[in-house]
């Protein structure tokens, strides 16, 4: 095996070893979101779109200057959310929560929904729990 081929193979394996585990971002690729960087915001539920292939939790977040930005947090579809114990009624309009996700790379106010904590009872909701085989 030539030194050049060995170098190419080594580089390929290095890239593979550095790549993150493929996320279960169903339907479309999730590469528009940051891979590791996360953002945690507090806000009030504006709307819970419980839809296929992805659901969206829209949250109104009050900024330091008093303005309000609506953020969208993308999660799995209804059956996976149901398996994670997340139902439409858990996030009625006006529900206060803290939510953590990986934000979009282009700066738009959207992120993956990694986990949310409801203010009234501190209950944690993690959509990808729905992929666990139980």
């Amino acid at each position: 095996m030539s030194a050049r081929i060995r170098m190419v193979m080594w580089l390929f394996m290095l890239i593979l070893s550095l790549s993150p585990t493929t996320r279960l971002a169903a339907h479309h690729s999730g590469t528009m979101f940051e891979e590791k960087k996360t953002v945690t915001l507090e806000g009030v539920v504006r709307e819970f779109q419980y839809t296929n292939p992805h659901s969206w939790l829209l949250v109104d977040v009050t900024n330091k200057d008093g303005s309000v930005t609506t953020w969208g947090f993308e999660a799995e579809g209804p059956s996976t959310l149901a398996r994670a114990g997340i139902k439409p009624g858990d996030f009625a309009v006006g529900t206060r929560l803290s939510i953590t996700g990986r934000p979009m790379k282009d700066g738009r106010p959207a992120a993956t929904w990694e986990y949310a904590v409801r203010a009234k009872d501190k209950k944690r909701f993690e959509p990808r729990e729905g992929f666990k085989v139980k």
Partner: protein
């Protein structure tokens, strides 16, 4: 010994070897089993050859009757493998398929680009995954067995594979055209369902996995191995892309559902505008127009 006699002896030997390989694989550890089943694929040049050998081994197979049906009821999901085609692929290593140089190059390129954040999935515009990718999707599944057909259902885009077990053959070659899930015929060998699928169309096995071509065909052996587990031996034949059949062992677990809350609903892939994506000029995926922000007019949108 005449040529006919030799041919018959060779065919008989192949059937015996096939039966021995299949039977002995039942009691082996997973690695030994995988090696043996991979060898079984190599013994047969085409998916049709393997299917016919399995059919001969089973004495032609049997037809089910309503009073003797296997119980595959319940709601299942893929037991392991995430969304890689081969569940045995270790993290940080490439897919286990033995590919032709062209398709190896394509796969490496796909993985490299995805690592850089450039990835486009062909199902992003709501097309079904197609088979054999169908085996990998991580959602809810149901398996409906009847005497003349078995339906293999994945909830994503209401995707049903119909397997005809009434003795019919495939569509005549002159009338075939590429289909997402192809044309599947099968027979029962005891409690095992053996399936041959052809007439498929090109696709990808999964993200960061290889491509397959219109020539792809599969042979599958489905069996309920425990009360809550269906396991499947899968051989993929695709000469333009694979230098040898790609054998994998897939599995589907029946989910606990004590309160009967699991239900498979109609899946409308395009019901929410916020899920609409487009392919950028460099081949990446981007949201088209998120309804909750006005920034789409200036950032990221295709307009």
């Amino acid at each position: 010994m005449t040529r006919v006699t030799k041919t018959l002896l060779a065919a008989a030997l192949l059937v015996i070897v096939t039966a021995a390989l299949v039977w002995s694989a039942r009691s082996e550890d997973p690695a030994q089993r995988k090696a043996r089943m991979t060898e079984l694929g190599l013994q047969h040049k085409t998916a049709t050859d393997l299917y016919r050998a399995l059919e001969q081994t089973a004495g032609g197979g049997r037809r089910l009757a309503w009073n003797g049906m296997p119980d595959w009821s319940g709601v299942y999901t893929r037991a392991r493998g995430g969304i890689t085609f081969d569940p045995d692929q270790r993290p940080g290593t490439p897919p286990t398929a033995k590919l032709t140089p062209e398709y190896q190059g394509r796969m490496i390129k796909r993985i490299e680009l995805a690592t850089q954040g450039v990835e486009w999935d062909p199902i992003s515009a709501c097309a079904p995954p197609g088979h054999p990718r169908w085996l990998t999707e991580p959602f809810l599944r149901e398996f409906i067995v009847t005497p003349n057909q078995t339906w293999l259902i994945n909830e994503m885009v209401n995707d049903i594979r119909r397997v005809y077990t009434d003795g019919r053959g495939h569509v005549p070659e002159a009338d075939r055209y590429p289909l997402y899930n192809g044309d599947s015929i099968g027979f029962w060998d005891g409690s095992r369902l053996v399936i041959h699928t052809n007439q498929l169309q090109a696709g990808i096995y999964q993200r960061r996995n290889p491509d397959y071509t219109d020539a792809v065909e599969t042979v599958e052996i489905w069996e309920k191995t425990t009360d809550a587990l269906l396991e499947v031996d899968v051989w993929v034949y695709d000469p333009p892309a694979l230098v040898e059949p790609w054998y994998t062992r897939q599995s589907y677990s029946r989910l606990d559902d004590p309160d009967k809350s699991l239900r498979i609903r109609y899946w409308n892939c395009s019901e929410n505008q916020n899920n609409t994506v487009f392919k950028t000029q460099d081949g990446a995926t981007q949201f088209q127009d998120l309804t909750f922000t006005g920034q789409d007019d200036t950032k990221g949108a295709a307009k």
